[in-house]
Amino acid sequence: MTLTVEHTTMPVLGRLPIHSSRAEQVAHIAEAAKQIRIQDLKLVHYAGAGHIGGDFSAIDILATLYGAVLDITPETVNDPERDRFILSKGHVAGALYTTLAAFGFLPVDELATFLKPLSALNGHPNRNKVAGVEANTGPLGHGLPVAVGHALSAKLDVSLRRTYVLVGDGELQEGSNWEAMMAASQYQLDRLTVIVDRNRLQQGATTKETNDLDPLPEKAAAFGFAVVEVNGHDHGELLDVLSAVPFRPGKPTFVIAHTHKGHPISFMSNNVAWHHRVPDDAEFQQALTELESAGRPRFDREPV
């Protein structure tokens, strides 16, 4: 199996006009998320590598951010006053590239180079090669300190630009995050938003079995953050929360987005095996069918 341009079929969706209604925005994000998932599935299946579980866990968040929240467009990708988004869980680079392509930062057919020799589309994002990437991540626990640094620069500039960083929940086991959270709170970086992809799975097991993060809201609150919990697959909730930050003046925001790894694919969802498994032909077909079937996939937040 080889990935070719034939597999890069996603339409470029772009942004809606600024004054579109909330309902229009939500529908647009939902369509984007659907297209991004379909395209990302093809990338992983045909390239034979990737982190599809974490990709699908994060795509609704990415689609919301790039589709309606971030003040950044392909034209302003180098504007110093752009909002910054840092993908700290860099192993879902495939989801990021696909999202960037969906919103016009990257030619869709360039996705066909994913993981190929000399491609800009490495297994982890490289800001020197891909427009729209703000930080070279991959080792966990790096994005949050970098985001704090950017939020500090904005504060020094007395700028209103915002910084968003998406971290994995397992990733929060890295102490560097807690160092950064203390500093963010000390410097009252209320234009910094940390989004946790709270899928309760890490590479080899559940977070609970490995090194439990709970009570996560209490941890984040004790580290000086305003904490909000959302359904991380509900575009409306995500849009409302991510565009409303800060919630408490002077406090950075910690959004716990409850998600499922592999959502919404029946056989992937909440299944640790899909951290970096590659769907075979049958699995690929089934996943494609599930994604293309009408209706918005249902996600009920688990009892914690």
């Binding site: 297994g123 982890h124 080792p139 086991q173 590479q203 080899g204 090194n211």
Partner: protein
């Protein structure tokens, strides 16, 4: 000791992590003090069977490398013999001060096993390439650095480490390799092994590149160039005598390793020859952060293929004008 040398490129290939887990389980059965310590790397270290056999003796601290190495040092204080198993890139870069202070300077009986080192993670990119690990750990006092070349040597080095007191770093390759050694191989610390005799030029290698050096030697032999191939599993302490003999007896040395060009095996050989017997050394390795590509692609691209090694050797034997 037997060296498997006929048409090595055609032999079956092995992921050394399999030898790693088999040996670790064997050692753990024999010695209750042995424990594993991991950073959510049970799967990537292939330790699922170990966990099944010794559920209490596989300590998973989560994604937290500093804690992992500190915990290992504390376990050693309590009389355990911890084998830390984590991707070499994160183990060495993220926990370097713990390696220096809690392991090396503390002289703790901790075995650091750097899994999937070098460019094994290929397309995952430079953040996941562990090409600096050898240079980094070699710079730390009281640290033994071992880079086995095949599953036999991996197992032998692990057995040695389990019974020797003190800090050890062992690279455990993921990129598959043919067997270089027969099953009678015994690991001796700080000793080079002449895996192929020769007088014209010397190839010094270890890890996943050693068998490529053997193939290079065959190619050179076909051209009438007799290449000595030294396997150098111990980068620190280095076998000074073997390096000096190579410097004295052949036209020059090519070092070839799955690591940054400079500071590692090549650096150690260079420092040895200039201080004992100046000679030409060609140091092969990665000179930069690699672009996207598979492990095999990257090795070839940077001359760590049989062809690349043979080329470097030819230049030493017949310097162009």
């Amino acid at each position: 000791m037997t060296v498997v040398d006929t048409s090595i490129a055609d032999q079956p290939r092995y992921d050394c992590r399999d030898a790693y887990v088999e040996t670790l389980a064997e050692l753990a059965h024999a010695d209750h003090r042995i424990v594993g310590v991991v950073n959510d790397s049970v799967g990537s270290s292939k330790l699922n069977s170990f966990r099944k056999a010794f559920p209490d003796r596989l300590i998973n601290v989560g994604i937290a490398e500093q804690d992992m190495v500190g915990v290992a040092s504390g376990l050693a204080n309590g009389g355990r013999i911890p084998f830390v198993s984590a991707a070499s890139c994160f183990l060495t870069a993220r926990a370097l001060e713990q390696i220096k202070a809690d392991v090396a300077y503390s002289n703790a009986n901790v075995k650091l096993c750097g899994m999937s080192p070098g460019v094994a993670y290929g397309e995952l990119g430079p953040t996941h390439h562990s090409i600096e690990d050898i240079a980094w750990l070699r710079a730390i006092a009281n640290m033994t650095v071992i880079v086995p070349a095949d599953p036999v040597e991996t197992a032998a080095a692990l057995r040695w480490a389990a019974t020797s007191e003190g800090p050890v770093f062992i690279r455990v390759s993921r990129m598959s390799v043919p067997k270089v050694y027969g099953d009678d191989y015994e690991f001796e610390l700080g000793k080079a092994i002449t895996v192929r005799a020769g007088d014209d030029v010397t190839l010094i290698s270890n890890g996943t590149v050693l068998w490529r050096a053997l193939v290079a030697a065959e190619q050179l032999a076909a051209e009438g160039i007799s290449a000595r191939v030294l396997s150098m599993p111990t980068v620190k302490p280095l076998d000074v005598d073997a390096v000096v003999a190579a410097a004295r007896e052949t036209a020059g040395i090519v070092t070839a390793e799955e690591a940054v060009a400079g500071g590692g095996l090549g650096g150690a050989v260079a420092e040895t020859v200039v201080q004992h017997h100046p000679a030409r050394v060609s140091i092969l390795g990665f000179p930069e952060f690699a672009p996207t590509g598979s492990a095999g692609y990257l090795l070839d691209r940077y001359g760590l293929s049989a062809e690349g090694i043979a080329d470097a050797a030819r230049k030493l034997v017949k310097p162009s004008s």
